[in-house]
């Protein structure tokens, strides 16, 4: 039985999430094929072919797949899915957008955001914002699954998979791409950074997020935020960590001026080491942090930057 993994890519580069999804596919077991769909994606296909465990890369290179709109990407996956027992994608906004379409059109259920593989049909996934972990078994012949990248260690680069073009092209008349406003940053991606430092409502305003910059520079960290900080307009939405934002599991997570609502914890409590800086010693964030510092962030942050 073979497994089809939808490659995640941005800006002409294969995203690291793909190597994590391939790791989940390896645990399921079977021939692993990766689908790279987009426009001008030859280099991405080559990067995917190097991933350990991948037998074949299938490339659908056409303007209709540019921007990875759900309708054409879904139709393409439906066309290819017949050859496979599993279709996997990262639980990214792309994977979440597309995979349920594939499941519905193949008349099968979808398992969202699995965090462990028990067997080829049985998986573990968080529910209720991670406050419970469900073990679920799919009774469908085709398993359509999104994978929480942080829950699987990425595969390395060992392979030299064959690369093969997908000739058929679907059409899309229902939706058109208008524009994209993507955040530009020299920092590592939130989802794959080794260190993440996040600010919450306690930061007070967007300007004060600069206090995190120097520390992030020194630690090579990505910068995240709570929803309250995003809602208040301090920072853009792509920085939100949590149940309905990004899921992170870095070696070190530093929460600054964040109270620790369950929806925020859902996105970061699998971090290896958690540090909380909060002036309220009763803040729930301290119940999950390894090191808590009760302090005013406006004093603690400059001092921390200096001492690192």
């Amino acid at each position: 039985m073979s497994i089809l993994v939808l490659a995640e890519h941005h800006d002409g580069q294969l995203s690291s999430a793909t190597a994590h999804v391939v790791a989940a596919a390896k645990q399921i077991g079977g021939d692993i094929h990766v689908l790279v769909a987009g426009e001008g994606v030859a280099a991405i296909a080559e990067a995917a072919a190097k991933l350990d465990g991948v037998a074949k890369v299938r490339v659908a290179d056409h303007a209709v797949y540019a921007h990875q709109l759900a309708e054409p990407l879904g139709d393409l996956l439906v066309e290819l899915a017949g050859d496979y027992g599993h279709v996997l994608a990262a639980a990214s906004t792309t994977g979440k957008n597309v995979l349920p379409r594939v499941a519905a059109l193949k008349d099968v259920g979808q398992l969202s955001e699995i965090i462990a593989v028990e067997s080829a049909d049985t998986f573990r996934r968080p529910i209720y914002a991670g406050n419970a972990i469900a073990t679920v078994q799919s009774e469908d012949a085709l398993k359509v699954i999104t994978v929480r990248a942080t829950a699987f260690d990425a595969v390395g680069e060992a392979g030299g998979a064959s690369i093969e073009a997908v000739e058929s092209v679907v059409d899309n008349t229902r939706s058109t791409f208008v524009k994209e406003a993507l955040a530009e940053s020299d920092r590592p991606e939130l989802g794959s950074a080794r260190v993440v430092i996040s600010g919450g409502r306690g930061m007070g305003n967007g300007e004060n997020f600069k206090l995190l910059d120097g520390i992030a520079d020194k630690l090579g960290a990505a910068i995240g935020a709570s929803r309250a900080a995003v809602d208040a307009g301090f920072v853009p939405n792509d920085m939100q960590v949590g149940q309905t934002g990004k899921i992170v599991a870095p070696d070190l997570y530093i929460a600054v001026g964040i109270s620790g609502a369950i929806q925020h914890l859902a996105g970061m409590k699998d971090s290896k080491v958690i540090v909380a800086i909060n002036k309220d010693e009763e803040a729930p964030i301290f119940q999950v942090s390894d090191y808590g510092l009760v302090a005013d962030l406006f004093q603690a942050l400059p001092e921390l930057e200096q001492k690192l």
Partner: protein, 250 residues
């Protein structure tokens, strides 16, 4: 234009859930239930479209047990004109919900369907996309802005890297993200009025939909608890611990 809004009854988002001692499921007895927060945003968006004169009628629909009528009444109090309850006591998986909704879409022929992006119980994030696929309609998921103009919807979507805008030909499916709007609270007179608004009850069988589940729930466990660590007294101590004890910085 008619707008259809799908709402789901879920546990109130403030409640900390408990897993049943036998690990068969989470324990929902005597737990406060509410409308899924993303569905509140969906209702709000539909009502605002009506207030702007873009929508002519707002129809709320849910698939679930008798008690889910509470959430339909909430939607009516918030400004929906009528409601459809597809009643079942069987747990409804996303695919089944999408199939039922696809039938309702076929019967009602709305110009726009608004759903939440995710139900906070299953955290599935599937139904809107499945409905779009089944109904053959374009989708704008995780919306933070929706503009309707000339039979088109411009939807700004929250994606991992930032924002993406797509244009959809109506009828279309939209799922809401948190920043689309801030839902209003229902006022008492509106809650009273809502009791008199029409609420239709049907069964999945009436719609000819088989809602049998595809996924077996084998076990539900509490997550590994994190132990609270220590409080450090100073920034110096914090840096020292991170270097020498946790060894996560050098």
């Amino acid at each position: 234009m008619k707008v259809l809004v799908a709402v789901k009854r879920v546990i109130d988002y403030n409640v900390k859930i408990r897993v049943k001692p036998d690990h068969s499921d989470v324990d929902l007895t005597n737990v406060k239930m509410a409308m899924n927060p993303f569905c509140e945003i969906a209702v709000e968006e539909a009502v605002r479209l009506k207030e702007k004169g873009v929508a002519t009628e707002v129809v709320a629909v849910t698939v679930g047990p008798k008690a889910a009528q509470e959430q339909l009444r909430t939607a009516l109090a918030l400004g929906a004109d009528r409601a459809i309850h597809v009643e079942t006591d069987v747990p409804v998986e996303s695919l089944a919900a999408a199939k039922v909704l696809a039938k309702v879409v076929e019967e009602e022929q709305p110009g726009l369907v608004i759903l939440g992006k995710q139900a906070i119980d299953s955290d599935n994030n599937q139904v809107g996309q499945m409905l779009a696929a089944l109904a053959g309609l374009p989708q704008g998921t995780f919306a933070s802005e929706v503009v309707i103009e000339n039979d088109k919807a411009q939807v700004t979507r929250e994606i991992d890297g930032g924002l993406q805008t797509v244009e959809l030909t109506l009828p279309a499916i939209v799922t809401t993200d948190l920043r689309l709007n801030e839902p209003r609270y229902a006022k008492l007179p509106d809650i009273m009025k809502a009791k008199k608004k029409p609420l239709d009850v049907k069964s999945p069988a009436d719609l000819g939909v088989d809602i049998a589940g595809r996924v077996k729930l084998l076990k539900v466990e509490p997550p590994a608890e994190r132990q609270a660590g220590i409080k450090v007294g100073s920034v110096d101590e914090l840096v020292e611990k991170l270097k020498n004890e946790a060894k996560v910085i050098s």
